[in-house]
């Protein structure tokens, strides 16, 4: 079987000449994202401390950047970009749907228990 790779990332904005070049390009991008994450984590700019949908903007940025990194690891290192659409959807949609469901249920419940603690029926400050 031939091993053709799709050699463009960012929807065709960046094209690479060979698969090896693409790998190094993706590494540079992932490193760049990680450096931004660490820099933001250390600096914690005051401007990003505001809340958006119940969570700090900074935390939203971290989570979005993480998903971006996960996308490029899966698509280019694991060659998901080169698999057929059906396999891609079986793997990605299943995982994404179940994870969203699980996270919603557990965080909702955690928030509820916190509200029970906070409303004063349980004392834990001693």
């Amino acid at each position: 079987m031939a091993h053709e790779h799709k050699l463009e990332i960012f929807r065709g904005l960046v094209k690479f000449k060979s698969n090896t070049a693409k790998i190094w390009g993706v590494l540079a991008f992932l490193t760049f994202v990680t450096i931004i994450e660490v820099a933001l984590g250390i600096a914690k700019p005051e401007a990003l401390m505001g809340k958006f949908l119940g969570m700090k903007i900074l935390n939203w940025i971290f989570i979005i950047l993480t998903i971006v990194k996960a996308y490029y690891i899966t698509w280019d290192f694991m060659h998901m970009r080169d698999e057929v659409k059906a396999l891609r959807r079986m793997v990605v949609w299943t995982a994404v749907f179940l994870i969203l469901y699980l996270v919603f249920i557990l965080l909702q419940e955690g928030g509820y228990i916190e509200s029970v603690y906070a409303s004063g029926f349980i004392k834990n400050d001693f």
């Binding site: 090896t20 790998i23 450096i35 984590g41 935390n59 916190e114």
Partner: protein, 325 residues
């Protein structure tokens, strides 16, 4: 007796002749394993989120917990070490994908080198994690656990942490360890805490610049520091036990659940890295022996590569949810 039945469809789609989804059996099954493993990890991380939401206003701040860097004692270096670990793992993912690429070109020498580098990267990562665990278990400053299981830490006027060892008034000969040979033979006693509550209470009274810091996060997102009078009162009334470092029962940095999840999730991930390294070593030797050269396909490198990238993928999330958010 011949148990196979010729159906006349061998080699055709209905007879399993073509590859479903144009992926080979091994690769597809590796993908499905990865999906199920991803769900296991997300269940753990979601459970961590659950506990964190439950104690949202008293959860430890990760930057204050993981501030150590090897060979730099006493230097506050939050996150640099995990950033280094992340980079090592991404780098070993890159050498893995380069090995896969060299495999497609049937270049045995290159596959060998890249597999070797991948194994080295994995070993560095597991070693770094062991160091991280060791630092976390040993702890640095020590703290006091209250009746209610909360943690009281000590800070100076500028808000820097103060080690209990630096101010506690040590008394000699206060308490001897109970042993079954000199006491009740059927009763065990765990290790005695390094400092008794009396020693810490007296030490706090004798050092006017030391204050107590509670776990409650205030409006500025920092832990609340009590006034001098409140500090003495809080420690005297509620302090029960000196704790140093972290284990599954106590955690000097805050909620014991934080330590439990840290050990469980990074431990489970570390186990994945370890088994990945073992698989990589097996494949590495197969490459050297020329197994895949004879098979005329380096697909095994690709399959084990999928697993290795997955381990990297999980770490990206662990890094975010444990250290950044």
């Amino acid at each position: 007796m011949n148990t196979t039945v010729a159906t006349g469809t061998e080699g055709k789609t209905w007879g399993g002749g073509n590859k479903p989804l144009t992926a080979s059996y091994g690769k597809m099954m590796m993908w499905f394993f990865i999906v199920s493993d991803a769900l296991t990890f997300s269940a753990f991380l979601a459970a961590y989120g659950f506990s964190r939401f439950k104690f949202i206003d008293s959860w430890p701040i990760a930057d204050e917990v993981f501030t150590h860097f090897p060979f730099l004692h006493g230097v506050e270096a939050p996150m640099y070490y995990v950033a280094f670990m992340t980079f090592v793992l991404i780098m070993s993912s890159v050498t893995m994908v380069l090995a896969v690429d060299a495999g497609h070109h049937m270049n045995k020498a290159k596959v060998t080198i890249y597999m070797f580098l991948t194994v080295i990267g994995g070993i560095i990562f597991v070693g770094s994690q062991a160091w991280e665990w060791n630092t976390f278990i040993k702890g640095e400053f020590g703290a006091v656990q209250t009746k209610g299981g909360n943690i009281l830490q000590f800070v100076d006027a500028e808000g820097h942490r103060v080690a209990v060892a630096d101010f506690a008034k040590v008394e000699t000969g206060t308490r001897t360890q109970h042993e079954s040979k000199n006491g009740l033979w059927f009763v065990d006693e765990g290790a005695l805490p390094t400092y008794t509550m009396t020693e810490i209470n007296n030490g706090l009274a004798a050092h006017p610049d030391v204050l107590v810091r509670t776990q409650i996060i205030n409006a500025e997102g920092e832990k609340t520091v009590l006034s001098r009078e409140e500090s003495i009162k809080q420690l005297k009334e509620n302090g029960r036990l000196f704790v140093q470092g972290a284990n599954l029962h106590v955690n000097e940095y805050g909620s014991p659940l934080f330590a439990d999840f840290f050990f469980f999730i990074t431990g489970f991930h570390g186990f994945h890295v370890f088994s990945g390294v073992v698989l990589n070593i097996i494949i590495f030797f197969n490459v050297i022996l020329g197994t895949y050269e004879r098979r005329k396909s380096y697909e095994m490198v690709e399959k084990v590569g999928l697993y290795w990238h997955f381990v990297d993928l999980v770490w990206v999330f662990v890094f975010t949810f444990f250290y950044l958010v």
